[in-house]
């Protein structure tokens, strides 16, 4: 890929967008199979294709193999992916969440070891944060890690770990000082090879039949102490940084996914109408949904400016997350409702995908901090209300 550089050393965003669009128009874009289990191989191959063509790590520093461009370039590329109905690369968690944390807190050795394969897609990451008894209240996590010589030995139980069954590495939060005065101050951030002895992954089959989430069990898992990211017992700050990126970046990415779903749904409705007049109820529902998607789009433009200015984390991240939930649930509900009486047993693959999306959409108000938690955060941090405890 060659970029037309402007005098400031950064190519114009719109020029960059045109190049992405042209490349995607000729690319062999994978079509995702309805079954989740059939997807990882395709998405890994797609990640490698994007990497080889120079589209991965757009806003990453050049010295680490990125393009050194702005968040606006990255977003323009994401929008072009949506336009071309192309999926995200397999390594999204690494690229957007774990990677930036390693860039910020990793030693030069850690960066040299992990960054390149993370960008190329040779190593796919997952994130071992949530536990059966530590969901919204993450600081109460119980997975333990004990220093033994040059190793850390991990025992515990993670849950809701997306992609774990297909991941090569996991960013694990573990308690390294159970006696710490505050639960937050006894936690460490550890990079764990998923092939280590003692790691067991158990897929969790979701209500929609897919198994995106997993339980991950750690039984006497030995990890070299060199894989500790940041300071021992200093992992909470890193985790919050990671979550900050997740909260700010995820809604932007997911918004694009939902826009594809909206367009597909609209195409389907148009075909069913076959030129006849839409009924009032459907028209109102579609119009309202469109207005909500547009409002969310406008909000994420502001989010991009916030990301570009390094204003992350922000209380406004909670607002974006709530907007994502709102739009995703409204969109997937409409898709379900239009199936009428066959909503639990649709006749077509397309119909089954709609039911799957609807059921997946119900999780939007839970994962990444439930809507109730987000509202509380907004009340306290954005509106300055007293803490509720």
């Amino acid at each position: 890929m060659t970029l037309g550089m402007s005098t400031g050393g950064q190519p114009d965003v719109e020029e960059f967008r045109r190049q992405a669009r042209a490349w995607l128009a000729d690319a062999d874009i994978p079509v995702l199979p309805p079954d989740y289990g059939d997807r990882p191989q395709l998405l890994r191959a797609w990640h490698r294709t994007l990497y080889q063509a120079g589209w991965i790590g757009i806003q990453w520093p050049r010295e680490f193999g990125g393009l050194g461009l702005s968040v606006h370039h990255q977003l323009a590329f994401n929008e072009e992916l949506v336009r071309a109905r192309a999926p995200h690369p397999a390594g999204a968690i690494g690229l957007e969440i774990v990677g930036p944390t390693i860039l910020k807190y990793g030693t030069p050795e850690q960066q040299a070891r992990f960054i390149q394969p993370l960008l190329s897609g040779d190593e796919i990451w997952c994130q071992g944060f949530s536990e059966p008894d530590a969901g919204s209240d993450l600081a109460s996590l119980r997975t333990r890690a004990v220093v033994e010589g040059d190793d850390l030995v991990i025992n515990g139980h993670k849950v809701w770990t997306s992609w774990a069954s297909d991941a090569d590495w996991c960013a694990v939060l573990a308690r390294t000082d159970p006696a710490a005065a505050r639960p937050h101050s006894g936690i460490s951030y550890i990079l764990v090879d998923m092939r280590s002895a003692g790691v067991t992954v158990r897929p969790i089959v979701m209500v929609n039949g897919d198994a995106e989430f997993n339980e991950v069990l750690f039984d006497q898992v030995r990890v070299p102490a060199a894989n500790l990211l940041g300071d021992l017992n200093g992992g909470w700050a890193l985790a919050m940084d990671t979550l900050g990126w997740e909260r700010a970046g995820y809604p932007i990415r997911r918004r694009g996914d939902n826009e594809i779903v909206f367009r597909d749904l609209l195409d389907h409705m148009r075909q069913e109408l076959a030129g006849s007049e839409p009924d009032a109820h459907s028209a109102i529902a579609v119009g309202e949904l469109y207005a909500q998607l547009k409002a969310f789009e406008a909000l994420t433009t502001r989010t991009a400016q916030r990301l570009a200015a390094g204003q992350v984390p922000s209380p406004l991240d909670s607002l974006d997350k709530l907007w994502l939930t709102r739009t995703e649930q409204a969109l997937t509900s409409l898709g379900l409702d239009l199936l009428g009486a066959s909503r639990a047993a649709p006749a077509s693959d397309e119909g089954r995908m709609r039911v799957k999306r609807y059921l997946y959409g119900r999780a939007a108000s839970v994962y990444g901090g439930s809507s109730q938690i987000q509202n509380t955060l907004l009340a306290e941090r954005l509106l300055g209300l007293p803490r509720a405890r």
Partner: protein
């Protein structure tokens, strides 16, 4: 883009300063909020050059773009400023180049705030539109337009009329002309002095006809005008909603029950969080569209619907947060809520707007 944003921010700061200063004076505040009209405030905004914000430079205007105008309307909402601002900031500049002879003289008076000229557009009423839409037949203009804002105080009207089955004509009507009657409507919303305008064989000829229905520019001009009006109403609704949110948060910090501020209860926090979600959505949506060189008409209908519903919901939540006092005249904030109801109904409420948007999407007239 950056320049537009900067200008909008500058205009916003200047307007904020003006309103703070003017509304700090009890006489102005009382007149504006109780009587729904403050001559001093109106004159102050006219002198500040507001009515030139959208007027082209070739006419001596400032031509600052819709971003700057939207910033003004957001503040009109936040401070609950009464007056025919849509008419003077948007309508007159948009039609200025079509106003000739005596109509141009009248527009010039309006431009400096010395005379009120308001728009009488049947489309403003949405579903409540009268079936007796004004028709221009030859030189005869007859019909009724309900709910004309500041209709009783206006000295002139810009009437959108029809000619038979043809689309719109734009006609200037002097309030004192033969056959013109206005009937004021008592309103719960004190800052929107609406009146029904009856036109009974009013003579309309020569320069009074700004645009004829057979002129190619007419449809496009009227369409653009309505799009800008929807955009500005959405911006004002965002400003009203912001005030309703901020005042509710203030109240939740102060009002105590069970020995602590009600804002410390999670149940109340959930309501305020939801309000913040809606207010930020309306602000981002309207300012994003206002910053564009030209907003799409159907997308702007969607924006109007969105802002209407958001502001209405935020208003209802504000009442809930304030508890019993919210249902009395003692709570000043009610004026902001009642203003929301007026604006919600202008140029199509949320249901009508969503239906229009949905129809455009489902028939392929609008591509997502």
């Amino acid at each position: 883009m950056t320049m537009t944003t900067d200008i909008a921010a500058d205009v916003s700061r200047a307007a904020d300063e003006l309103f703070r200063r003017e509304l700090a004076r009890p006489s102005v505040r009382q007149a504006a909020h109780d009587a729904g009209w403050s001559e001093e405030l109106w004159t102050a905004t006219a002198s500040a050059g507001w009515f030139d914000v959208l007027l082209g430079e070739e006419h001596g205007g400032l031509d600052l773009g819709s971003g700057a105008a939207a910033a003004l309307f957001t503040l009109l909402g936040r401070y609950l400023v009464p007056g025919p601002y849509l008419d003077h900031v948007v309508v007159i500049p948009a039609l200025y180049r079509f106003a000739l002879g005596h109509v141009r003289d009248r527009f010039d008076l309006a431009r400096t705030g010395r005379q009120l000229i308001v728009l009488a557009d049947p489309a403003a009423c949405g579903r409540g539109a009268s079936t007796d839409v004004p028709v221009l037949a030859g030189e005869d203009l007859t019909g009724t337009i309900p709910l004309v804002r500041f209709g009783a105080a206006a000295r002139g009207f810009v009437v959108i009329a029809r000619t038979g089955l043809h689309p719109d004509s734009v006609v200037f009507v002097d309030a004192a002309a033969q056959g013109v009657t206005t009937v004021p409507r008592p309103s719960f919303d004190l800052v929107s002095a609406q009146a029904d305008l009856h036109l009974d064989h009013v003579r309309a000829s020569g320069d009074a006809v700004l645009l004829r229905s057979d002129e190619i520019t007419t449809n496009e001009t009227v369409r653009r005008l309505r799009t800008t009006l929807r955009l500005m109403i959405a911006s004002e609704l965002a400003g009203l909603a912001r005030k309703l949110l901020d005042s509710s948060a203030d109240y939740a910090r102060l009002r105590e029950q069970f020995g602590r501020p009600i804002g410390a209860f999670q149940a109340v926090q959930q309501i305020l969080g939801e309000m913040a979600v809606l207010v930020h959505g309306a602000e981002a949506f309207s300012s994003e569209f206002a910053a564009r060189p030209e907003a799409d008409p159907v997308e702007t209908v969607a924006l109007k619907g969105f802002a209407s519903r958001a502001a209405r919901q935020v208003g209802e939540s504000a009442l809930q947060v304030h508890g019993g006092i919210a249902f009395t005249k003692e709570l000043e904030l009610n004026r902001w809520f009642l203003r929301v109801l007026t604006l919600q109904g202008l140029y199509g409420d949320d249901i009508e707007s969503f239906r229009e948007t949905g129809n455009a999407l489902l028939t392929g007239a609008l591509q997502p």
